[in-house]
Structure formats: C-alpha cells, structure tokens
C-alpha cells in the first residue's frame, strides 16, 4: 500500500520547524511503523536528503524510547501499543498521516520527532525510589506482600516512561507518570517509610519542571501503551493530602499555601505553537 506522510521537520530547538510531505510507496502490512520510517529514511538518504530523526531502541515496546503523535494521537490509533509495536496492517492504502513530536514545555524539542524527556529522570531523582542501599536488605521472604498488592504494584510499575501521557494531556501534566511510580512504591510494605516524603517531593519537582496540573480529563489513560489506570492519580492525590496534613517537610506547606497558578501545560502549548 501507499501512504502519504506529513512529518514535522525541525533541525534543532532554535530553528523554525515545518510539516513536510512525503510519499511512501510499497508499504508492507507486516511492517512495524518504525520499519516503515526506516524505509522512508533509506529513500531520503538515496536522494541526498537528511533522514527523519526519531527516537527508538528496543522496538519491543518496553524501553519507552520511541513515541510521537500520529494524527494527533500519542503512539497512534491502537490502544495499549507503542509506536514501535504498531504495525501497518492497521492503516489503509492512500491514508494520510501527520507525525509530530511530543508537545510539552517540559519536553523541549531536540530534532524532528525527538524530544528531551530528562524531566522524567529528575522526577524520579526527587523521590521515586526506596532508599535501600546495597547490602542492607533482609531475606526476600522476611516481609510478606499480599499477592493482590504485589499485582497492583506491578500494574503501576509497568510504566515505561515514554511520555505519551504528558504529550496527550491538554495540560501537559505528568500525573499519570507520577501516580504510577507513587502507587507502585506505595502499595508495597517496603515503600511505606518514605511514602509521605516521596509524594511531596515528586509533586514539587513536577511543578518545578513546568508540567501542568491534572484536571482529570483522562486522555493520558486512553493513550498509555501500558494501560496504566487513572486510579494511580487518585492514589497520588490521596497520598499527597495525607502527607500534607501530616506536615511532611517544608515542601508540603509550600504546596498547600501556594495560590493556584495558571496551568503550566497550557502555557507550554502556547509557547510551542509559535515554533
């Protein structure tokens, strides 16, 4: 089949970008979406044009490196699927597709479809861990974990950190990502001692990174390739309120008393639409 692609081309964050139209003839339905882009890139190189830059690595839907918008939907039309696992049999001959990078102020553009998601790493560094230095652990069976809790923790821990939730959210909120980590660790007995401090620190960091606030729209859940549930955001909110009332750290007071600012995510979109 033949496809018409409109791809966002932008050399770097300083230069202006634009949509460029490409035709890809002979697309095999068994190809993955990224393999289709590989074929396009080979054609571009043959013509002496710079290939389209896109992030990818494992191509098994687990590393979280890939991701862009296809016709306005993060990772494209198939639910619970990263773009590397999306196959061309889900498209039809002559279809026109618009490919754009993730859009969020917290994810500055690098080139074409590539963005910088280091803000996610900083959220984890702020508190998304259990402080268990190597060597200090008791026997693995010393602390029992009810199966149901382990399973639900695993559901949340399945997050691959791709950023689709942020890209799809009108507020560019990172709440699904945050909630997933806070739920994963908060559901386990090992995660209890730091539970309050964790949520306060991570939420404060998210504000600093200019991720927007959550207004429970649910676009994030709809596009999450690992189908993380909105419930994790409710858990985060509950943990946050509990921790703030317990007066966890100076950050808590700052969070509670700060007047509501305009949604950072909205500002992000305004800024980006100019470029």
């Amino acid at each position: 089949m033949r496809l018409i692609l409109h791809i966002w081309r932008q050399r770097n964050v300083h230069e202006k970008g634009r949509m460029v139209r490409y035709e890809v003839p002979d697309v095999n339905p068994d190809m993955s979406f990224l393999e289709m882009l590989d074929v396009l890139n080979e054609q571009l190189i043959a013509k002496g044009e710079m290939p389209v830059a896109f992030d990818h690595d494992c191509r098994e839907g687990i590393c979280g490196m890939c991701g862009f918008m296809i016709n306005g939907v993060a990772h494209g039309p198939l639910r619970g699927t990263t773009v590397c696992q999306l196959h061309m049999r889900h498209f039809h001959d002559g279809q026109e597709l618009y490919l754009e990078p993730w859009r969020a102020r917290a994810f500055p553009l690098v080139r074409d479809l590539v963005v910088n998601r280091s803000a996610f790493d900083r959220l984890i560094a702020a508190g998304g861990f259990i402080s268990a230095s190597t060597g200090s652990a008791p026997d693995g069976n010393a602390i029992l974990v009810p199966k149901e809790n382990a399973d639900r923790a695993m559901d949340a821990a399945a997050c691959i950190g791709c950023g689709a939730c942020v890209a799809m959210c009108p507020n560019a909120s990172a709440s699904l990502f945050l909630g997933a980590k806070i739920s994963h660790l908060g559901l386990l007995p090992q995660g209890q001692p730091e539970r309050g401090d964790r949520v306060i620190a991570m939420v404060a960091q998210a504000r600093q990174e200019m991720f927007g606030s959550c207004t429970s729209i649910g676009e994030c859940e709809a596009v999450c390739p690992k189908e993380i549930k909105l419930e994790v955001i409710a858990r985060m909110n509950r943990d946050f309120i509990a921790a703030a009332w317990q007066g966890r750290g100076a950050a808590a007071e700052d969070q509670i008393s700060a007047p509501e600012e305009p949604l950072a995510g909205n500002r992000a979109i305004e800024t980006r639409s100019a470029g």
Binding site: R11, N12, N28, E35, M36, D38, E42, I45, E49, M50, P51, A53, H56, D57, C58, R59, E60, G61, I62, C63, G64, M65, L78, T81, Q85, H87, R111, R117, S118, F120, D121, I124, A125, G127, F129, I130, S131, A132, S133, T134, G135, A137, P138, D139, G140, N141, L144, V145, K147, A150, A153, M154, A157, A158, I160, G161, H184, L188, Q190, G191
Partner: protein, 637 residues
Amino acid sequence: MELNSKTPTGPIETRWERHRFSLKLVNPANKRKHTIIVVGSGLAGGSASATLAELGYNIKCFCFQDSPRRAHSIAAQGGINAAKNYHNDGDSVYRLFYDTVKGGDFRSRESNVYRLAQISVNIIDQCVAQGVPFAREYSGYLDNRSFGGAQVSRTFYARGQTGQQLLLGAYQALERQVGAGRVQMFPRTEMLDLIVIDGRARGIVTRNLITGKIESHFADAVVLGTGGYGNVYYLSTNAKGSNATAIWRAHKRGAFFANPCFTQIHPTCIPVSGDYQSKLTLMSESLRNDGRVWVPVKKGDHRPPNAIPENERDYYLERRYPSFGNLVPRDVASRNAKAVCDEGHGVGETSLAVYLDFRDAIARLGTHVIRERYGNLFDMYERITGENPYQVPMRIYPAIHYTMGGLWVDYNLMSTIPGLYVIGEANFSDHGANRLGASALMQGLADGYFVLPNTINDYLASHRFEAVDAGHPAAQQAEAQVRALTQRFLETKGTRSVDSFHRELGKLMWDYCGMSRTAEGLKYALSKIPELRDQFWREVRVLGGGEELNQSLEKAGRVADFFELAELMCIDALHRNESCGGHFREEYQTEDGEAARNDDEYSYVAAWQFCGPGISPTLHKEPLTFEYVHPTQRSYK
C-alpha cells in the same frame, strides 16, 4: 604476556570470602576523593553506579539513550535465578553452580561461577528491598518457576517484565544518587575512545549526541557495562542502539577480547517476515514450560496447524530428549529447530519456523492461568503477527540473543588494562560457551551490586593518581583520532546508506558464523568481510554534519567497529576446532548430532590481543581447570 586470572585457590565455598578479605579497602573519608567513570546504565552499569555512589565515590555515568532507564536489560522477560531453595526441591548454591558450569559446556571459570551462585541469593533480597514487584503466591511469599533447562524452580519473575522491573530498581537507586549529587549522569553521550595514561585507564573520549561536542572525561578508574555485541548480525533481539563500540575501542587500546565466537541463539523468537525487518522479537523461553514445540511429520505440510491431527505432529524435543523435553538448553533447542526446518518440516510462509503450541496447557490449566502467566507475551505476539496464540500455535524461530564472549577480565573483573573494569554482558566471565536462561540478569546485578564494589577498592587503594586533564598528550591524541574518524565519515560522500552495509555484514555473519559453522564457511567469511569493509569506507553515505543530532553518523561509527569485530569472531570460530555450547562446528559433532568438545586441546579461554590494523591478532590462552564439576558430554536425554 601471561594472563593472571587472580583466581583464589582452596575450598571453593570460601574462595570469595577469603579473596575479599585479602583485598585492600579505601578509607571512607578518601572515597570521595576518587572519581569513577561508568559507561552504560543497564543492570550492570546502573547497579554499579548506584552502589559505588552509596559507598561514597564520585561517579560519572554515561549512556547513549535519552535516559538511563532505557538500557536494553529492560527487555529481559523471563526471570532471574537464585539458589534460594524456597521450594524445598533440592536446589542449593552448589546446584546452581553445577548447572551453570555444565550449561556453559565447561568453558567458564569455576571460581567465578561459584561466586555468582553464592551472590544470587543476595540479589533477590536487594531487589525486594528496592520495591521490585516480584510475583507472589497467595500467602505473600515469593513465587518461583522453573526455567530453560533447570529441573528446580529457582527463577524469580515479575510477570513477563522481569528485566524491566530489575532495571527500574537499579535505575531508581541510581537516580537517588543523582539527586544526592554523588552521580553525574550523561545521557545521550557516547563513549568513542578510552584514554590510557602510563598504562592505566584514566578516562574516556565522548561525543554529545545532541550537540556533537567531542570531549574528554577523566577518572581514577573506568568501568564498562556496555552490553553485548549481538547486533553484529544486524538482525538480533538486541535493541537497535546496542553496540560494541566501547568494548571494541577499549580492545584496540589494549584490552584482550575473550571467546568472541561464543554467541547465543535464542530458540523462541518471532520469525522474520520480510527484508525490511529491523530486529527480531524474543518470546520468553518461559513459554516452553507450558508450550509444546512441534512440526508436521510430513515435509512441506502447509495445512493450518489446527487441522493437523495429533498423530501427524512431531513433538521432536520431547521425542529426542525425554527427560528434559521442551526445556532443553537454548543451544540444543535452537539447533534442533534449524535441523527440522533444514529437513523441510518448517512452517509458515518462509518455512523457517516451528510451532509452539499451548493447546494442551490451556485445556489442562484454563485460559485464565495461561493469561496470568504469559498474557503480555501473548499480546505482543498478536500485535506483531496479527495471530491469536490462544487459538493458533505460535510460530517461532531462533535468533541471535546474547554474546557470552566479551572483554577478558580477571576474578576482580579488571581487564588487561589496569584500571579498566568490565561488567555484565560486556565481559566474558561467567557463562562459558552457553548461558542458561535467567542467568544474564543474575550476572549483571552480581557484578554491579556485589562484585565490582568489593574489588575496585583494592585497585584504588594500591595506586597513586596524578591529576590529568585534556591537555595530556594521550587525551589529545585520542580526541584527535575521534575527530578524524567523524570527519572521514562525513567526507566520504558515497552512495550507500550505513544500514545497507550493516544488513549485508549481518547476513554474512548469520550464514557463516551463526548457529552452525564450518571451517570452509568461516574462511569464506574471512575473505568477504575485508572486501565489504573496504567498500564501506569507500562508498558509505553519511549526510548532515558532525555538530548536530545525526543518527546516521552514530550508526556509521558502530558499524565500522562491527566490521572489525566480525573478523575477530570468525578468526576465533575458525581456530576453535571443537563444538561447545553456542559454538557449533559441523565438523565436530557426536553421532547424535550433539556438540563434541575437545577438552584436551581447547579447554581454555581464548583471549585475543589487538596488534594493529591489518595485523593478525595474537592469541593468549587462559587454561581452565575443573576441580569440582568434571567435564562430561552434556546429555539432556
């Protein structure tokens, strides 16, 4: 040069303990005065960075991905072994040691393997403490399963995403240290050379993949945890970015490369569907616990699988290996799949596939149990192939998956360059000629959490470190070399893309240095590789510039290294006139078609020294002795 493995002697049970006591320590107050470079952020590099930082060292950690959480360890599905004997089924440290030495076909060091088995139990404890959501029983205790060639249930798992969960554990520990200011993280930064000063590893040259800036970083020791080199075959289960550049350029600076021909083929991958194929996807071999492997008895039988009656199916693994059945080790399962396909029994459009059938398991246990165990794998299979494995059997075929070879290291994990340590898949140390399932995660974490942080102190405490900077001639020479290479790629302005060369090299390697090898085929490959390499240097086309994100440029450097490594792999495979583990030379097999080892002549580690471009490498041998597990012909009948 004499290879000194520094392996302790005496009773094997206490070797590691006695060795640790003999190593020098670094005073806690002095640790912060040392900087250590760690390249790679997977299970080995990530866990090492976190642990060394917890000890008080300053760490600079580098990865080419946009975040340390993306390292390819994340894709491991099945599980991690540990000799906990939680199931009271006869497991022990000694049994895990025994299985690993035997599984490695007697080409690994007994001391290393015993240490690995001992440490396995600590790894599980550590990961549980970090919040890794391992599968649990209803009682809340840790669940286990038996896995790939083991007769005991010693594999811990987190659904089909064990690698992901273990990596996130290490990544979170690493980020905790980043937050504490003890680790400086350099994502999207690739190591392109090693800086050796006065015979010791003192730094690396890197390229910032976004700005293209080439610069030097210095430290008192350098640790490579950069993974394996399976992508030399182009099609493999490795991530697209996985590469051998760090270890290969360290090899060219003096680190010996051990057993490069020991590569592992994974028996259960989704078959190739077309020439656009960019990678192969693995289906965890835990599937073989419940799935039954078969092909039609009749050659060229293209009926749909469910239309083939029971008596016309050949469950060839169960037939040939009654005691292990579908759970024979990976090399045996892979070769058998190739054999039945070569005989004309293969299935699917290409006839290069065998069935992995869950019909009986679903009938016995119910769909819900199968979904619970393998749900995500079944979903992934359906996404890729468009077929529902709950209703029709999966089609599978072997693919390159892991490389047992790697840079030679001693018992302390130090290479032949003092101060250069190599951990995880990047070294050659523990798996011999074949790795058992669920052992890669174990080794990566053993090296990073428990071995390296104990052994590196000895080196740091035994040497004085003069300050060095980018003005040092060795650093300037290395940087200039990297710049010249980048320039050469950009100025060649040929006609063919980097990928087209990589594909061609990969095909050559798969055909002649893949699942089975012959002297004739290897000689042919050795004549073709230099030809293709010369063509690459003449005709490669890399567009764009060096001072921007340029993915073709990144790939060009990696493929240039694969060309050189491919040649060394063929030289090693040709010199080893025996079959063992993943190295199967057709000339050397038993009457039953099993690998025939030659212990009299080849019971050694082949460590190759780089002698300059165009000059044959020099072979150094580290003899292997077996005091505990006596070499026997492996039998899984």
